[in-house]
């Protein structure tokens, strides 16, 4: 076993320092991109949660106090697409396009579908709001604004 002289032990190699420096430069360079992507991912995940929660509850027949009744049935969320919709007050505007599916006796009745879509849109935006602000908004909301983005929601049945 070779024994290193005391002045050589516990040294970090110059390669390692260069590597750390390069990594730090790269991290700093892509940090804004990472932050904005993380914000969009968080919003998208929250939107999915809100949509499935709304579809599940309306499918069971539950409704809010002033919401029209809809017969219960298997309501499924097929897709939650995030579409760039332009700008809103200097914020990048993204719209969540939710595509849902329901049995024919529900999906062919426009008053039923508009009632369910209303619940889905509201819950999507409420969940997005909660994801960013940590509290549930009071009442119904039609838009959620964050530091970089503005989110709205649309819904249709297929």
């Amino acid at each position: 076993m070779s024994v290193m002289p005391p002045e050589v032990r516990g040294q970090i190699s110059i390669e390692f320092l260069i590597l750390i420096g390069a990594i730090m430069v790269m991290v700093v360079a892509v940090f804004p991109f990472i932050l904005s992507t993380a914000e969009l991912s968080k919003a998208h995940a929250a939107a999915r949660d809100g949509a499935t929660f709304a579809a599940g509850m309306r499918g069971l027949g539950y409704r809010g106090a002033d919401v029209d009744p809809v017969p219960e049935g298997a309501i499924r969320v097929l897709r939650v697409d995030m579409v760039e919709a332009g700008n809103y007050n200097n914020l990048t505007w993204y719209r969540f396009d939710i595509t849902a599916h329901a049995p024919e006796y529900i999906s062919t009745n426009t008053s039923y579908t508009s009632s369910i879509c209303g619940t889905i849109r509201t819950q999507v935006l409420r969940h997005v709001y909660y994801a960013f602000y940590g509290e549930w908004p009071s009442g119904s909301i039609s838009r959620v604004n964050t530091a970089r983005y503005s989110f709205t929601a649309g819904c249709r049945f297929e």
Partner: protein, 161 residues
């Protein structure tokens, strides 16, 4: 040089902790949401069972009775708030004679839904609640030829209309 933790391990551990902490909030929210939807489904099933029992007793004529034991409808379990942070069902369950419906109310404010309700249709409009007794334990439903009597605690079921 032995028993040293490398700088890479320390860095990776730090990053892993950051990622996990950021995910905890989202995962807990999903857990609560699933819990509340599950409770809502359970409450709806209890309401459907109650409605079918009332309808059967009504259709079977005078003298017919059905007993739903705690195994079928457990009010303690339904109304229990704080069970893994679920908010339970708002008791009592309302039987609305005028609307011919059983109304179950669920507080979903923890998952952003506010107070929601589900109504299950029933056939008779003459359901009368009475306190349970030794002969008619909770929940017994009896057709006495005039009314549909439901023996249940006032804190669990009430009738209106």
């Amino acid at each position: 040089m032995r028993a040293q933790v490398s700088i890479e391990v320390a860095l990776m551990t730090g990053i892993a902790i950051l990622v996990m902490v950021s995910m905890v909030n989202l995962q807990f929210e999903r857990f609560y949401s699933a819990r509340e939807v599950g409770e809502a489904g359970e409450a709806r099933m209890a309401g459907t069972l109650l409605a079918s029992a009332i309808n059967n007793v009504y259709a079977s004529g005078a003298g017919f009775q059905v007993h739903l034991s705690e195994k079928q409808i457990n009010f303690t379990r339904l109304g229990e708030a704080g069970r893994i942070y679920g908010l339970g069902v708002r008791l009592p369950i309302v039987i609305d004679n005028a609307e011919r419906r059983i109304i179950i109310v669920k507080n979903l404010s923890k998952t952003g839904g506010g107070v929601w309700n589900v109504s299950i249709p029933i056939v008779p409009n003459n359901v009368v609640r009475l306190d349970p007794s030794g002969d008619y334990p909770e929940v017994t439903i009896l057709n006495n030829g005039t009314n549909i009597l439901i023996y249940a605690d006032e804190a669990h079921i009430v009738t209106e209309g």
